[in-house]
């Protein structure tokens, strides 16, 4: 099966799943920001670096998923209807 033969519904399901995953990662990132801020205000400054690294990692995954959505969405729109 070539990418052009792929049924559009499967592509849309994959996009929905990726969006749902981004939303979950975003919630984790929000929690991480809150926890890091709380630790920083309590004087635990050593939490700032791991917090920033983890946040960067989560953003990277979100951005990767977005690129996946972008690519898949474009390929879906080019399908013969």
């Amino acid at each position: 099966m070539t990418p052009g033969d792929r049924p559009p519904n499967r592509g849309l399901t994959a996009i929905d799943a990726a969006i749902a995953l981004i939303a979950v990662l975003l919630i984790v990132q929000m929690w991480l920001l809150t926890a890091t801020l709380e630790a920083f205000l309590a004087g635990h400054r050593e939490a700032a670096l791991p917090g920033a690294i983890l946040s960067l990692l989560l953003f990277g995954v979100c951005f990767g998923l977005y690129l996946f959505i972008e690519r898949l969405d474009r390929s879906l729109w080019h399908l013969p209807r």
């Binding site: 975003l26 991480l32 004087g43 989560l58 972008e70």
Partner: protein
């Protein structure tokens, strides 16, 4: 209709948000969260470099036992309380409540610090939260006795000295 052809704005299509647009919005929000974390990291590094100086805040015996003195440390806008808890015992805390930054003051019983905004109470011995909504202990001012003077030499924000 002619005007519809001339003004070809279709409200329904304008309001339609594609999955790609929604994904972009989520990723931009994620970028905002990352910016927040990086800001905390920058502040953390900045504060580590920013050394807190020492400051003479009172003379020994200047206050009676149970007495309180207001002073500002480490900055001109950082209001603090110096408490004489015993004949030769002093404690000092930031006056800013860790809940919503209201000014705390000694309670009537003389054993606690009270925040009047939401009835938060802190221990006078170590600044820990005894009651109410404050999430963290009061930042403790590290004191040092030099000859006949009491000096503030640092801030201990919840167990960490700076």
């Amino acid at each position: 209709m002619l005007w519809r052809e001339e003004f070809s704005i279709h409200t329904a299509e304008e309001r339609y948000v594609t999955r790609r647009q929604f994904g972009k919005f989520l990723v931009l929000t994620s970028l905002g969260m990352l910016a927040g974390n990086l800001w905390i990291l920058a502040r953390s590094i900045w504060r580590r470099k920013d050394a807190v100086g020492s400051q003479r805040i009172a003379r020994v015996g200047e206050m009676p036992v149970g007495g309180v003195k207001l002073f500002r440390y480490p900055g001109a806008n950082d209001s603090c309380l110096l408490l004489r808890t015993g004949e030769d015992a002093y404690a000092a805390y930031s006056q800013k409540c860790t809940h919503l930054s209201c000014a705390v003051y000694p309670a009537r019983d003389g054993k606690r610090l009270e925040c009047p905004c939401h009835e938060g109470y802190f221990s006078i011995e170590d600044g820990r939260v005894l009651q109410g909504p404050p999430p963290r202990p009061l930042p403790r001012i590290v004191l040092e006795r030099r000859d006949e003077d009491v000096w503030a030499v640092g801030v201990d924000a919840g167990g960490r000295e700076s």
